[in-house]
Symmetry: C2
């Protein structure tokens, strides 16, 4: 059984990676277009490469330090020796996912623009293929890492399932740390460039978006790649791996058998195959409407989801027996909840629906009212996802049965992310289309091309909204699963120091009226707020430096506005690089230090409170910020589409302010919070032995 499991998982990973390689080869066969297009694409590519290179250097230092810390802890008997190495591989594969995604995206942008010269369908194929490469690389590498460690620990070291899952949780921590760096750093870069380009270019100088005269325009396009592609790749690698390993860990605790580990691993493997099949359904006719395009993408994802739903049934039945078929319901509830949260997100942020239309109308009384309206919209939009996730939790928990309830919640997260290969493809193609539009604009292609890339881009906004729904929903469920894993870990530590099961049961209570749990709850709930503040502050700082530089270039470079001189693009790129790398460190350090310090003071009960508080408030804040930002963006686009005064009107100016505020909301702080809430749990798990053995609470309270 165990060998079959390892084999199946490796095969799943291989299918994903093979498909990614084939697709990448196909994408690279498309021509890049005119020399000008090649040149622009090359600038973007080299900017993005330079950023990633420097990011990886800084991150390496962090990983080296953490490796030493973990190694020291292993020598002190607080960890197994697998942990430091697992930590490193998680970080490595997470970074690799982002890197591959960015490589293909920067290779596909000009190709997409060029394909759009021939037709919309061809453009969609190229962009979507590039997204697929990223999607399948993420799931492929994720599953490969899982299979690798499983095989290593099982067959080479002959470890117990408990030790295996325990080590796996550590590579989750590596992946999460890397993801946070990538998301925060990339998010700051992209939004600083975007805000800087917009504020001076669009608002002050009155030149259009992506105008080649704007010195920050290349930085803006680089940002799409390092933030929305490399950042997202690392992020979703982390989500995917996190959901699978937390389910494995809880499954082992609940059932004590490998079969319970097999369920999430095989669901993931099957999900890959179903997703590959789904991608073949994504194509559209020429002159397709927005609706046709969306339909084409939905066809692919829905097909994959239904296929998984069908196959999961016999899988659960066979592996866990008829009496545990409730766990299938748990998987299903996650799958459905993901779709529903995505739809709720779309309802609140797409200008096809009332909320965003009404928001756009608020521009008529100026920027203040559209800001108030957007903040209100975002806050209101938390209600529906909360209800959806609440119902999902209840169904998953009770369908799984009281003893396996938390395993059920973890499986719901796996169900939600099982179609990640294809949903991520539909998500990641957005930035490619966005870049393609930029290249079309900058290289002066026919308006028709830009029109087509805009259609692809607009669709990208919708699919990004759906993708965010999945990311947020799965983050909440996974964080809860990891919280449960933390409690199991604490149990294990207590057993290790010779406590009896009864003693442990007596201690392992996390009553909400217990003052340490309560205080933990307060501190945990505060963390996403602090984190959002830090990242927004960073974007603000970085953006201000870009604004000053762009203003300087407009002012000092003679003939720039007339198109007789070239701006110094590289200066803006290197400015963004420096600023974002400097600013990305503090938030990550906060995320790692606070749970450990809180634990050393409040003890493990405080940590559980902290994790609960962070999950709940992080979920709310992430939805609030993502949806406010998304709605502002689309309200602006709605106005640009000729409503409420159209482009250049006072209303449009107000909407641009809204969009600018929304930029760090939706692309920096919001998504980073998803990673934060899981990283907090993983850090707590890794440092559990330390906290349980040495905390102030046991002496004082």
């Amino acid at each position: 059984m165990d060998r079959i499991l390892a084999l199946c998982t490796f095969v799943g990973a291989a299918v994903a990676l093979l498909f990614a390689v084939i697709t990448a080869t196909r994408v690279l066969k498309f021509p890049e277009g005119t020399d000008k297009m090649k040149k622009i694409s090359q600038s973007i590519r080299s900017g993005a490469n330079a950023y990633l290179k420097r990011q990886y250097i800084i991150v390496s230092v962090f990983f080296a330090v953490m490796f030493v810390v973990l190694l020291a802890m292993a020598f002190l008997g607080l960890l197994t020796f697998y942990v430091p190495f697992a930590f490193i591989t998680g970080g490595f594969f997470s970074a690799l996912s982002g890197f591959v995604g960015m490589k293909i995206a920067t290779a596909a942008n000009a190709r997409t623009a060029n394909a759009c010269r021939e037709g919309l369908n061809k453009g969609l194929r190229v962009a979507f293929s590039a997204g697929s490469v990223m999607g399948f690389t993420v799931v492929g590498l994720g599953l490969f890492d899982i299979a690798l460690w499983f095989s290593l620990l099982k067959f080479v070291f002959g470890e117990t399932p408990e030790t295996i899952t325990s080590a796996m949780l550590t590579f989750g921590m590596g992946a999460s740390s890397m993801a946070l760096f990538a998301r925060v750093g990339g998010g700051i870069f992209t939004k600083a460039a975007d805000v800087g380009a917009d504020l001076v270019g669009k608002v002050e100088a009155g030149i259009p978006e992506d105008d080649p005269r704007n010195p920050a325009v290349i930085a803006d396009n680089v940002g799409d790649n390092v933030g929305d592609v490399a950042g997202m790749g690392a992020d979703l690698y982390e989500s995917y791996v996190g959901s699978v390993i937390s389910a494995c860990a809880l499954g082992v605790v609940a059932f004590g058998t490998l079969n319970a580990m097999a369920v999430p691993m095989l669901i993931a493997a099957i999900g890959i195959v179903c997703s590959v099949l789904g991608t073949f359904l994504v194509r559209t006719k020429e002159n397709a409407t927005q609706k046709d395009l969306l339909g084409s993408l939905s066809r692919g994802t829905n097909f994959s989801a239904i296929l998984i739903a069908i196959i999961a049934f016999p899988l659960v039945w066979f592996l866990l027996g008829e009496e545990n078929i409730g766990l299938y319901v748990a998987i299903l509830s996650g799958l459905v909840a993901g779709v529903l949260i995505g739809q709720a997100t779309e309802y609140f942020t797409s200008d096809s629906y009332n909320p965003t239309k009404k928001l756009a109308s608020k521009s008529e009384t100026g920027s203040a009212t559209i800001i108030i309206g957007g903040l209100g919209l975002g806050m209101m939009s938390t209600a529906l996802p909360i209800v959806i996730i609440a119902v999902c939790i209840l169904i998953a928990y009770f369908a799984a049965g009281d003893n396996n309830g938390l395993y059920g919640i973890a499986l719901a997260a796996v169900g939600m992310l099982s179609t990640l290969g294809i949903t991520l493809a539909t998500d990641a193609y957005g930035p490619v289309a966005d870049n393609a539009g930029g290249i079309a604009e900058m290289s002066g292609l026919e308006p028709e091309v830009r029109h087509r890339t805009d259609a692809l881009d607009a669709l990208g906004n919708t699919t990004a909204a759906t993708g965010k729904g999945f990311a947020i929903g799965s983050a909440a469920l996974t964080a809860l699963a990891l919280m449960a894993s933390y409690i199991d870990k604490v149990k294990e530590v207590f057993r290790g120091i010779g406590k009896t099961n009864e003693e442990i049961q007596e201690v392992l209570k996390f009553d909400i009226t217990d003052p340490t749990v309560l205080v933990g709850l307060f501190i945990g709930a505060c963390l996403p707020f602090v984190f959002a503040a830090l990242t927004m502050e960073s974007v603000g700082k970085a953006a201000q430096s870009v604004v000053k530089e762009v203003r300087r270039q407009f002012h000092e470079i003679a003939g720039l506005m007339e198109g007789n001189a070239d701006p110094d693009y590289a200066k803006c790129v290197s400015l963004c690089t420096k600023a974002s790398l400097k600013e990305m460190v503090l938030p990550t350090v906060v995320a790692i230090v606070v749970p450990v310090v809180s634990g050393l003071i409040l003890g493990f009960k405080g940590v559980v409170g902290l994790l609960g508080g962070a999950t709940v408030s992080g979920f709310l804040l992430a939805i609030f910020m993502s949806n406010s930002g998304g709605a502002w963006d689309n309200a602006k686009k709605h106005i640009e589409g000729g409503n409420f005064g159209g482009k250049g009107s006072e209303q449009h100016k107000g909407a641009v302010v809204g969009d600018t505020v929304g930029d760090p909301f939706k692309d920096t702080s919001g998504p980073a919070i998803n990673i934060l809430i899981k990283l907090l749990s993983m850090v707590s798990i890794v440092f559990a032995a330390l906290v349980v053995k040495y905390n102030l609470a046991q002496y004082l309270l």
Copy 2:
């Protein structure tokens, strides 16, 4: 003992009310100034009266419906018959507190302006006296209501302490409902008028603040009275009463004796006497600087606080014995925490400190960056109060001892609010000074007068920040105490249906990993977000109607801008009245319906989760919104003070946008959340028997 307690409490209430009456008489003796001043003051007064009258009519309908519901529940044996009546009195006294405060404030505004013609000290005396009337009316009526029900139930009906505190909690619910109506309705009114007046008057037409040509200027001044005075009066009545009765209830459970009830009641009574003494220290020399003025107010409040800290020691010793002297530490920790949260608030929102100065500097890159900066500042500012309240909770809980821990937390809230008489006086005088400034401007008094009222007003902003710190801090502690009372209430219901103590102990567990608790936590945490969204949306709607009306008047009334024709002030007032009263109903209904419905579905465990989630996220959101709003306001004032371009510059325009966004943040949504989190608990307590007996969870889960 019980008679002495009743007597002391009545005496405390009488001292407060007598002092209020004497002070009011003294205020009314001051002359109102010129005929023009009288006329303007009269317009404000009649607008405010008209609003309150209509508000009370709508609220009466709500109270009548609730009365019938509660009566029906009493007939069904789900409540005692005291409950419906207690509910009504709580609402009545809360409304009365707001009403009296508004009466004196609208009487004192012209008098303050007039006194400022003679000198700053005199102006301060009049405004502060008016604030004192409000402060002592609130605490006097609060204590009177407590004493009244205590005496009635104890001496007339001979009830047990449990039944007494149980009924008292219900008048808390009445007070909270009324407070929420007053805060939300008044908050919408004042901000709709303010935003409307600013957006069209200041930004579009370019006329100064409080210019008599602005049709919304009277509405704006009326708003200060119905929102910042009447709303705040009702609000703090609720906080004060809530903290005392929740401490009484927990004290009875912890000690089973009247002595434990006596502690909070007597601390409140002594607090009143100390506060009265403190008011005599508030006076300042002529040509006082802002620092002198602040010093004068601080002298009064600090004196009162220290006096209470001294007297509370023998009181606790005598009533609860040497072994429980830890409860004194709990009271002290609350007193100190209140001061510290106030100082943290001031640090983040006053332009004497770096955060707000830096925020003002962000206006240099436009309104978007100042908005992002303000949101970040508000989110970051949650960290310090969270740490303060966390330490306060831990100290209060553990100083009180494990068995009395929650009683300790409740006493901390009482300690925090014990100086409410004088802190509210320093808080409520702000709107009076604000109004006085408006009257000075509109009636064309010498610039020197306006200069003096501005000095008073600026000080009012600082004291308001401190006041908000107390309001938020005490709300969190009281909400936790009420959550504990809810659990006690559930226990009582179980005992009533014949469960043994062991069975009850088995059931009364609120582990954070229990799915119903967890789901409750999610839903509860979401409520403040939804609530903030609803209220902001309402302000937006109401403001838009004001904007349109003001634009219409500027456009249609010939000679208005030249000062040859009068605007139609009354139209704006009635517009605000209508809009705010219409909008105030839904948020309150949500606050009452959601905990009951959640309870009927999830059971009492879900309710406890809900209350915990709402308290934590409400605390964070209230601080975030209040501080963002306060900082934007003061950043704007900082620029108006001649920094970063000064009045009329582009930077100033950006700051005005920030201030406008901050208006509903700090004066509508933020403060209303404080009431919300307590109302949720009180509603849950009243409906506890219903929820425990009839819930879906017990059948399904």
